[in-house]
């Protein structure tokens, strides 16, 4: 078969695919024979003269699963290379805006759609990644290694490729991550063949000759190849640099960076399986005129965030919205019956009732309601609050004329008890928290006492005094004068001594203070207290 220069690789599909497969086989043979990592054929683009783009390639390097490069049979090499190519094409197909023209066969396309042996980017080694990203590169005349090779028609042997200047070798950064240390380019068939390896191999013309012979082509007269060492600052380099400056090297640099970045981001966008909702990503760079945002800059290290330097973490408004505002509503919740069922726990009734009792005890005592707590916490809270209240009452009574001795309940067995209880009384009105169980008490002399406790909207009162006629009615009248409505009353009279437990609701906004309530009650009860 004659491989003439005129038959660009963009010729009729059938021929080109045959040729491509032949070329790839040749590349495979060549690269395997010298045991290098990869071979790429950069072909001339038919549309733009002098522009080089991906033609064919063969990957013979490390894979994640297979470490040794040399074990693979030549057929595996070809298969792997085509897998990588397919993967690249699929990645690119995910982004329909790119316009790099390629010679992708129909076969590849079908494979792409059927996703038969699909690789995912996670499966790739660094070298393979380098290989795939290389597929995206396009070189204008005299740009980078392949461009320059084509322009000058000479072989270029680049050692320490990973340290090369981006102007020479735009993929040097990639090469560094892939550990590609040597890259060789030579012109071939109107394009450029590039080979690379992860070892540092110094220039070897015989190797080159060998490769060329593998490609089954009568080699061109062997031009003197230039051996570039990246760190060398010699005249040739300067000449090359000068030469390159003509092309506006700074733009080239940016372009290459940009190219790399856009390629990588394009490919990685595929990797994130973003096939749907593909809109043009907005230009969120704040260098846009009219944007309110400024570009982010790394703050000074002085201001850099250390845990101790953080402003006091408050989240004030957010916390209030989540915690306090709902509780503003729940103030109204106290109107509800104590045995209200909230939550959907439909467990056995005794548990529910016990829970509800404890909940209502808490609610009468504690301003903020947190209904969802464990039982032990509730018990502890109740006890703690009782202790606090007793202390407060004692302190208050130091100024008053009320005796506070150890309070004991009279035993029910001792004497006749006249006990009246209102309908919705519950045991929680006992200020000391006894939940209705009788205690063994010894008889003691009658003590007079007056306790008032003011909650958010409730008042809990306990009166112990000598009984007189209509004393309870007078107390209730006093309460209503103080804008309170009693809703729970329990009284018992024993031996002329009255014990009265009351719960009343504040009627309106006018809230009587504890002192005022006590004063009024004392007045009603008389000087017995």
């Amino acid at each position: 078969m004659s491989l003439t220069k005129d038959d660009g690789v963009e010729a009729a599909r059938g021929r080109s695919s045959r040729r491509n497969s032949l070329l790839s086989k040749q590349l495979a043979v060549a690269v395997k024979s010298v045991q290098w990592s990869y071979a790429i054929f950069w072909s001339s683009s038919p549309t733009q003269s002098g522009v080089l783009e991906w033609g064919e390639g063969c990957y013979n390097g490390e894979m994640k699963k297979r470490k040794k490069r040399n074990e693979a049979h030549y057929k595996h090499v070809l298969q792997r290379s085509s897998q990588l190519r397919t993967l690249y094409l699929c990645m690119r197909e995910g982004d329909s805006t790119t316009t790099i023209s390629t010679t992708h066969d129909d076969d590849d396309y079908q494979n792409c759609n059927s996703r038969s042996m699909m690789l995912s980017p996670d499966d790739l080694s660094d070298e393979e990644w380098y290989y795939i990203v290389s597929m995206s590169y396009v070189f204008s005349p005299s740009q980078c290694l392949p461009g320059r090779t084509l322009a000058t028609g000479e072989t270029i042997w680049l050692c320490n490729a990973q340290y090369a200047d981006s102007k020479f070798f735009s993929r040097s950064l990639l090469a560094r991550s892939a550990s590609i240390q040597t890259v060789v380019c030579f012109p071939y068939l109107g394009g450029v063949i590039e080979l690379g390896v992860t070892e540092l191999i110094s220039e070897d013309p015989s190797l080159l000759q060998h490769i060329k012979s593998c490609l089954l082509e009568t080699s061109k007269p062997d031009c003197s190849s230039k051996n570039f060492f990246a760190h060398q600052d010699n005249d040739d380099d300067d000449k090359k640099k000068n030469h390159e400056i003509q092309f506006g090297i700074s733009d080239l640099m940016l372009d290459e960076d940009l190219h790399y970045k856009t390629t990588v981001s394009t490919l990685l966008k595929y990797a994130s399986d973003n096939n749907s909702h593909h809109r043009q990503p907005p230009d969120l760079a704040s260098s846009n005129s009219g944007s309110s945002f400024l570009r982010w800059k790394q703050p000074d290290s002085n201001l850099l965030l250390k845990p101790s330097n953080l402003k006091p973490l408050r989240q004030n408004v957010l916390r209030k919205i989540l915690h306090d505002v709902p509780l503003m509503h729940s103030v109204d919740a106290k109107r509800m019956l104590p045995n209200n069922t909230f939550g959907l726990n439909q467990d056995d009734p005794s548990v529910k009732r016990k829970e509800n009792e404890k909940f209502s005890v808490l609610r009468t005592m504690v301003p903020t309601v947190n209904e969802i707590d464990k039982e032990e916490i509730l018990n502890n809270t109740i006890k703690y609050l009782q202790e606090l209240e007793e202390r407060v009452e004692e302190l208050e009574s130091c100024m008053g004329s009320v005796n506070f001795a150890e309070r004991k309940r009279k035993s029910l067995n001792d004497s006749v008890l006249i006990e009246e209880t209102s309908g919705n009384y519950d045991d929680s009105t006992n200020i000391d928290g006894n939940s209705g169980e009788t205690e063994q008490v010894t008889s003691f002399r009658d003590e007079t006492r007056l306790r008032v406790k003011l909650n958010e909207t409730d008042v809990v009162m306990e009166v112990r005094c000598f009984y007189r006629d209509y004393i309870v009615a007078d107390i209730m009248e006093t309460l209503s004068k103080l804008h309170m409505d009693a809703f729970s009353v329990r009284s018992h009279t024993l031996n002329g001594f009255l014990t009265l437990n009351l719960k009343a609701k504040l009627r309106g906004a006018a809230v009587a203070s504890v002192g005022m309530i006590k004063r009024e009650l004392r007045r009603v009860i008389g000087e017995s207290i």
Binding site: S292, L313, P326
Partner: protein, 335 residues
């Protein structure tokens, strides 16, 4: 409209400011189906009388004006406001507080805010709502979350409860819809759970806060890429990005705020961008890379507001604008 520009706002000529007589918290943009762009803002006054104001925004002239005839009262501060999604034909505004209320905002400026649909469980006491979310795909479905640890799914067309689930062990702070039947919620128990209405018995915990029981305060589900969610913790300057395919391990923790984060919002048009606002008075736009650098992810751009940013909304009806609320002001920032 007040274009006040303190010195700390370098590019305030592109920000549109509305100054309100009272502090603002809740905010919502009207959906794209309405002809004029409307913004509802809810006041944050710690007593019974609060107000919801409707503003109209004109991006071309960059002006925002209140529509006083459309303002109405709300008992206690609304914990969240949200306009109905475009898939619902009518233009409704929902507010959450003690109950879920639906308001009808009509176009003619002279009308009163119509039909207050008071949705509450009639037999039982309805625990106050901390947040809610309107399902975009299935617009008659609205999910609310409450301090009684439950999430309730409403059918707003028929005004009935579709279902109620006990979502967490403690108060639920936020809820977000993913698909038509899938929602996620965050709670004071520190977990993010995903629920599927087809299987109400089970939920998936996809993240738990590293310090046990650190409440998670807000949740945002990326509508462009349903695999990703963002959440913020109490007292934390981090925005935690989660991938629902890999539970418990966050994909990224964005830690560049100098104060705790108060609000987050995903970009409506791009799956990789998210904006966050915090107590450091900064709004940061982040672009999430596929591979994070060693020092963490840096934000793309920053905006410094006058004071702590309490609310942030990035609406799909106005993808070029981000609304933030701080102190008494509501600002619209051009992206």
């Amino acid at each position: 409209m007040d274009n006040s520009a303190p010195d700390s706002l370098p590019r305030s000529e592109t920000a549109v400011t509305y100054e309100s007589p009272y502090p603002l918290y809740a905010m919502s943009f009207s959906s794209s189906s309405s002809t004029t762009h409307r913004i509802a803002v809810g006041s944050f006054l710690e007593d019974y009388n609060n107000r919801i104001d409707i503003l109209s925004f004109d991006p071309d002239s960059m002006s925002v004006k209140p529509l006083p005839s459309l303002s109405f009262d709300h008992p206690y501060p609304p914990t969240k406001l949200m306009f109905s999604p475009p898939s619902l034909r009518r233009d409704l505004l929902a507010s959450s507080g003690d109950f879920l209320r639906l308001w009808e905002i009509t176009d003619s400026p002279s009308s009163e805010p119509l039909s207050v649909l008071n949705n509450s469980k009639t037999s039982e006491f309805c625990a106050p709502l901390t947040s809610f979310d309107w399902n975009d795909v299935e617009p008659k479905r609205l999910g609310t979350c409450s301090i009684d640890t439950t999430c309730t799914i409403w059918d707003v067309e028929r005004s009935v409860v579709e279902t109620q689930l006990i979502a967490h062990d403690k108060e639920v702070h936020d809820i977000a819809w993913g698909e038509a039947r899938v929602f996620a919620s965050v709670s004071a128990d520190g977990s993010v759970r995903i629920f599927d209405l087809r299987d109400k018995e089970h939920s998936t915990i996809i993240y738990e806060s590293p310090q046990p029981d650190t409440p998670l305060l807000r949740l945002a589900w990326n509508k462009q890429d349903l695999r990703y969610m963002a959440t913020i913790l109490m007292d934390s300057n981090k925005v935690v990005i989660l991938d629902i395919r890999s539970p418990t391990m966050p994909v990224a923790e964005l830690e560049r705020h100098q104060g705790s984060v108060n609000a987050i919002g995903w970009a409506p048009q791009s799956c990789k961008h998210i904006c966050s606002g915090g107590d450091d008075a900064q709004a940061l736009i982040w672009e999430l890379p596929t591979v994070a650098g060693p020092n963490g992810i840096d934000p793309m751009s920053v905006y410094s507001a006058g004071s702590e940013i309490n609310q942030l909304q990035w609406s799909s009806s106005l993808p070029d604008w981000i609304g933030i609320a701080f102190a008494n002001k509501m600002q619209l920032l051009r992206v």
